[in-house]
């Protein structure tokens, strides 16, 4: 007779309990993804390697961007508004008209592209003051990254009919050689006092 008294447990409220837990996890979940500008810092120079090789880079191959403590820009020794920076940087990296004061060009053999006439090791050097605001620094970085990205997109569309991000791995590699990553995180130097 004892067996009969074991009535089945009412599972009707199971759904309610589960819902409660579900809602708890729903609201505590943070789905935010971290986004950012990804960069690679240069290695620290070795102790015995004191000689600075950067001096050997010709001046026309370097695009100097200075930001002072008042967040003002000095690009190639001329004050400039941030909105002009992207175009200027694009002109520098590509040097479409083979101008005298922009980077040297050379003929290079690239997969997919064949032999192309591209700039030879252009370098963008970004220097800032200790008093520069971080927000401004990121804005300038953003403009310079955008300049590179736009150039890569242009050439990708021209060559493959697709944007840079949609290319295959081999194609990406070729385009990266066409327009290399040029931003250098310069050794900090104090410019313009504090």
């Amino acid at each position: 007779m004892g067996k009969r008294e074991l009535s089945p447990i009412n599972a009707g409220s199971m759904a309610d309990i589960a819902f409660l837990l579900l809602i708890f996890f729903l609201i505590t979940t943070t789905m935010d993804v971290d986004t950012g500008l990804q960069r690679r810092l240069p290695r620290l120079p070795d102790e015995d390697q004191q000689e600075d090789t950067s001096d050997k880079i010709k001046e026309r191959n370097v695009f100097v961007v200075l930001i002072n403590k008042n967040d003002e820009l000095l690009v190639e020794n001329k004050p400039m508004d941030i909105h002009q920076l992207r175009q200027k940087a694009k002109d520098f990296i590509a040097n479409p008209n083979n101008a005298e004061n922009l980077p040297e060009k050379e003929i290079k053999e690239l997969p997919f592209f064949g032999s192309v006439y591209i700039t030879k090791n252009p370098v963008i050097s970004l220097r800032n003051d200790r008093g520069t605001s971080y927000g401004m620094y990121i804005r300038v970085q953003n403009e310079l990254v955008a300049a590179k990205q736009e150039l890569r997109d242009e050439i990708s569309i021209q060559q493959f009919g697709e944007k840079f991000d949609e290319l295959t791995e081999d194609q990406t590699e070729a385009v990266k050689h066409y327009y290399p990553s040029v931003l250098s995180e310069a050794e900090p130097k104090n410019i313009g006092g504090k």
């Binding site: 599972a11 199971m14 759904a15 589960a18 819902f19 837990l21 579900l22 996890f25 729903l26 505590t28 979940t29 943070t30 993804v33 971290d34 986004t35 950012g36 500008l37 990804q38 960069r39 690679r40 810092l41 240069p42 290695r43 620290l44 800032n128 003051d129 200790r130 008093g131 520069t132 605001s133 971080y134 927000g135 620094y137 990121i138 804005r139 970085q141 953003n142 990254v145 955008a146 990205q149 995180e185 900090p188 504090k194």
Partner: protein, 156 residues
Amino acid sequence: MSRFSKKGKKGVGEINTASLPDIVFMLLFFFMTTTVMKEVNLMITVKVPDATEARKLEKKSLVSYIYMGQPLRSFQQMFGTEPRIQLNDQFRDVADIVDFIAQERDAMDENDRNKMTVSLKIDADTRMGTVIDVKQSLRRAQALKISYSARKVEEL
């Protein structure tokens, strides 16, 4: 009107809700496994700058975070209003970063150590001076892959 009267209702039976708990449990387990509990209690205000070129950071397990910004008001009496560095749950100095990176690296799988990324979550109003110091100690700690954390926007 007989359409709405109860007597007319004959064909539509009750929906069987027996499988409802199963469905809910499934959802529950999904959220339980994907949830990342907030790891740090921020003691500083960090409003990262905006950028159009910001990219998503892959693989959260490979990312370590360094926060920098002005201490929250409740901490200002103790720590002042100058931007401070926060590592995990404590205020730290630039000098502690090398140790912090070594510690984070030790906690990682051996194969992943060289893929470690440091995400710098820095308030937009911070001066570059401290940021430079942080970057220099990251170089000293051989943590060269960094990401300047920024909010992705379509246009600045």
